[in-house]
Symmetry: C2
Subunit: 226 residues, 2 copies
């Protein structure tokens, strides 16, 4: 059984990387929280700006640097912060390259900040990166002020109760098979087709929610209203 | 070839339904724009609140009415607005039931407002409803202040140029095969795997973008920065 914390992290991970990417900038308290449970901080391009405003240099910046303000870039070049400059016209987004870098360097789990915002194309693209990497056993947890989200494949997961809502969205075209307990709406050996909204906004009824995913894969969310 | 307008509507549709659901309330100008191109207005539960504030009654409200303010509900009962009250504990969300209602009543395309917001579980669930309904030939276009999004299956689509970015996100587990032209980053017979961010934020370079999707399915976005 995989125990997850309230923020959907796997507490057994000993090397966890933090990736801050462009999008709606994460708040300083959220950045602080993420840095406390991560062992390396990587920024994808403009994701660095919110760190600089806090007076913090990341361990590494990866990107084409086209969305980084010139004064920040100048400050960066004076610092000892490591940079990997990518060509502006490339096949993958800075975020995807940065995620590959972290997993190539043996980080077992990644916390992703800044991946969502008002641009759905970016948010959706980042959501599917979680699935794409997840299917290669490279777990990513995406956080913002009101949500934590991670990809899950068949297995047994335990999530501690909180005042957040728990939701599951099937990402496998063939749907999912699952059991849910410890929640106000439990399920026993249910089949949920792809493209239905059956598993949204469940509530905790016991100290732990238990999710047994028998078939397919899904996004797991804990979210609260802002 | 399917011609789409700048807002991703199919102009050949003669019966188009508008669905306003809970989530971040759409602005009055966006509601006005949607009502002008739709022939019926349905609200899912709390989606009605933003219409009431504009002094407008929808043609129909569907929902468990648990998130509708009591004073609005009282006003509603005095009006001639048709209502379908669903049980609070049910297998599908109000949004999904409302979408089924519109397609069952021969609306050929649906504009969905209010489907996104800070709660990712809701936004993602609504995104996958577009895919689930789309795979049954029931087209839905989701709008907010900065994005329009629709599901596409194999076929040829033409989107008029604008100052928006055009993005595609593969939703088929097996990835997609496509050609793109009229865009700054064209593609010819390319295969794009699922879970990659290769097709995000393209720019128009000609009066029309042409998308030929040979294999798989995807979300098509036109988005601009807020």
């Amino acid at each position: 059984m995989i125990q997850l914390t309230e923020t959907l992290l796997n507490p057994e991970v000993t090397r966890r990387g933090l990736l801050i990417t462009g999008g709606r900038p994460p708040s300083p308290p959220l950045i602080d929280q993420a840095r406390q449970c991560c062992h390396f901080t990587l920024c994808a391009d403009s994701g660095a700006a919110c760190l600089f405003r806090m007076g913090i240099f990341p361990d590494l910046i990866i990107g084409d640097m086209d969305s980084l303000a010139p004064d920040i870039y100048a400050e960066l070049q004076k610092s000892h912060c490591q940079t990997v400059v990518l060509p502006t016209e490339k096949d993958y987004t800075d975020t995807q390259v940065a995620l590959e870098w972290l997993f190539d360097h043996d980080y077992e789990e990644v916390v992703l900040l800044g991946g969502t915002g008002s641009r759905w194309d970016h948010s959706a693209g980042n959501g599917f990166l979680l699935t794409g990497f997840g299917r290669r056993n490279k777990p990513i947890v995406m956080w913002d002020a009101v949500n934590a989200m991670r990809y899950i494949s068949p297995g047994h997961y335990r999530v501690p109760a909180s005042d957040h809502r728990l939701s599951l969205v099937p990402t496998d075209d063939a749907g999912i098979g699952l059991s849910l307990s410890g929640l106000y709406y439990p399920l026993e050996g249910a089949d949920v087709p792809f493209g239905q909204s059956l598993l949204i906004s469940n509530e905790f009824s016991e100290p732990y929610a238990s999710i047994e995913l028998m078939r397919g894969d899904a996004w797991l969310f804990v979210s609260r209203d802002a």
